[in-house]
């Protein structure tokens, strides 16, 4: 059994998105109760949120953007940069707590105290651009974590694997000119899904060319296509890149019962994908992997998806 951390904190429920929005606090409680009900909590090291120091956030986001978000939050704005990004007075603080919690988990794993960790955080991050909130995301948790790992000297080459059903435009754009961070995303084909980026010809720029890879999946496809695509596209790329640290943007919205996409991944399909990722971590990163929640909106399915995800991390 692995030493696995679980980051969960009730303060992550304070970011409210108003009525009629899919990115709701119940997503996290569903995930937590799923893990609890399966009797996994005693096996896990529970981590709680901590406020990120501003300078880590500034490794990825423009200072003016951070200030703009803080000011909008203070002023009582209900949305930021787009009606998609509903917010409340606690949003800025919660976003900082999400980043800080992820950095805490990363530190425990990279220092060897834990083998791996799952971070059940809100708000999500992979759509957040350097200076723009997008797709329910404010701070790019995973991107900041990658920079944190590099700055702390734990690893030079960091791989980010994004299995959310949407393309992580923010993460890609932040690293697309950087050869030290490999960004891989598998998602519903952008002609059929938000945000419309992540085409298979987007492979990075300049020195970063070849360090971005996108697999596009057509509507209706599921377990078989995902399993094959990961083997065909991700595994060989990792053989070449040889990551020293691995971060996962875990979105559960590719599930067949999730209304946010037309992809038909089953719960078993998700488990298979996660095992493939664990294989990469074992081969290249001494098993070290930190998984960070992105999307996933079906409250009925999230408990089992989280249970399986954490069981695989624990290797039980």
């Amino acid at each position: 059994m692995n030493r696995t951390g679980l980051l969960y904190d009730e303060r992550y429920l304070r970011h409210q998105t108003g009525p009629y929005h899919p990115e709701v606090p119940q997503r996290l409680t569903a995930i937590y109760f799923g893990i609890q009900k399966a009797g996994l909590l005693p096996k896990l090291t529970l981590l709680s949120a901590r406020r990120a120091e501003r300078h880590w956030v500034e490794m990825v986001h423009e200072r003016t953007y951070i200030e703009r978000l803080e000011a909008a939050c203070r002023s009582g704005a209900v949305a930021f940069d787009s009606p998609d990004n509903q917010m409340c007075a606690e949003t800025f603080e919660t976003a900082l707590l999400a980043v800080g919690g992820v950095l805490e988990a990363v530190e425990r794993v990279m220092s060897g105290e834990l083998d791996n960790a799952f971070c059940a955080v809100r708000p999500p991050g992979h759509h957040a651009e350097r200076s723009k909130a997008m797709g329910f995301c404010y701070f790019n948790n995973v991107a900041i974590a990658a920079r944190f790992i590099q700055q702390k000297g734990w690893a030079e080459r960091v791989a980010i694997v994004d299995i959310d059903v949407h393309h992580g435009n923010g993460t890609q754009h932040i690293f697309e000119q950087d050869a030290s961070v490999f960004y891989y995303s598998i998602h519903q084909h952008p002609s059929f899904a938000f945000p419309g980026t992540g085409r298979d010809f987007e492979i990075g720029y300049e020195v970063g060319q070849g360090y971005t890879k996108n697999t596009t999946v057509l509507p209706g496809m599921g377990d078989d296509v995902y399993g094959q695509a990961m083997e065909r596209d991700l595994l060989p790329a990792m053989e070449l890149f040889r990551p020293e640290a691995l971060l996962v943007s875990t979105g559960f919205d590719a599930h067949v019962d999730d209304e946010m996409s037309d992809i038909s991944l089953t719960s078993d399909g998700y488990a298979h994908v996660m095992r493939q990722i664990m294989g990469i971590a074992a081969r290249w990163c001494g098993g070290k992997v930190v998984s960070v929640l992105e999307g996933g909106y079906n409250i009925e399915r999230l408990p089992e998806l989280a249970r399986d995800h954490v069981s695989i991390l624990l290797d039980v």
């Binding site: 009629y20 787009s82 009606p83 998609d84 797709g135 938000f194 945000p195 509507p219 209706g220 209304e259």
Partner: protein, 225 residues
């Protein structure tokens, strides 16, 4: 949607009495494929394309830097001798739709844009048209495309637009296409949001059928083995 808005204004040109090798050099240096030929009053008299140069110059010269090779008898060849005189042009006040239809009819890669007096104002290439078309589709902004099957009768579009507007969602664009079912149209609103599950339910409740994404635009899904 006027040509004036989408054309390239800064045009590299050449005179009719210039040497062909000079034109060749200009195309190479600026990585362009079309060179309008203008007289001293900026009146368009012709056009030279990379294809014209390829057929006018021997293989040993085309694509090379003139100084590095023996240009022989080609040194004196003038633009006037190989240009296409009086090419098909378009006016700055023509529309992008005009240009799309025209470019489909006559197979060229670019139109010189000239005013009523025949003076060169710009050039409109296939690349410029594509850029304009991408802007029309709105697909460089983040959003989600829906496909809705709609009966061809009055007031349907209003229902769709109202339902979406009530959800406080902005439109990137709306395409309407023919559908293979009789009396049906397929409507494709491009919505600037990630949040479409509620509006999808609403449209279904209003009696609209949401098209399976794999059936969008296609009469038949291509069979993949």
């Amino acid at each position: 949607m006027f040509v004036q808005k989408s054309m390239t204004r800064k045009v590299i040109t050449v005179g009719p009495d210039s040497r062909v090798l000079e034109a060749h050099d200009l195309l190479q240096r600026h990585h362009i494929r079309h060179l309008p030929v203008v007289d001293s009053d900026n009146i368009l008299v012709g056009i030279i394309t990379d294809r014209d140069l390829r057929s006018a110059l021997p293989g040993g010269l085309y694509g090379k830097t003139p100084a590095s090779v023996d240009t022989g008898p080609y040194a004196d060849l003038t633009v006037r001798e190989i240009m296409t005189p009086k090419p098909v042009t378009i006016s700055p006040t023509n529309t992008i739709e005009d240009a799309l239809l025209l470019i489909q009819r006559i197979q060229v890669g670019a139109f010189p844009v000239v005013d009523e007096a025949g003076r060169l104002q710009g050039i409109l290439s296939v690349r410029d048209l594509l850029r304009a078309f991408i802007a029309v589709l709105g697909i460089e902004e983040p959003g989600t495309l829906l496909g809705i099957l709609v009966e061809e009768k009055l007031g349907q579009m209003k229902k769709i637009v109202d339902a979406i507007t009530e959800e406080n969602i902005s439109f990137g664009s709306i395409l309407v296409a023919r559908h293979w079912e009789p009396n049906m149209r397929a409507v494709f609103p491009y919505l600037l949001t990630n949040n479409v599950s509620r509006v999808k339910k609403k449209l279904t409740a209003l009696g609209f059928r949401l098209l399976d994404p794999m059936e969008w635009y296609m009469d038949r899904i291509p069979k993949v083995d």
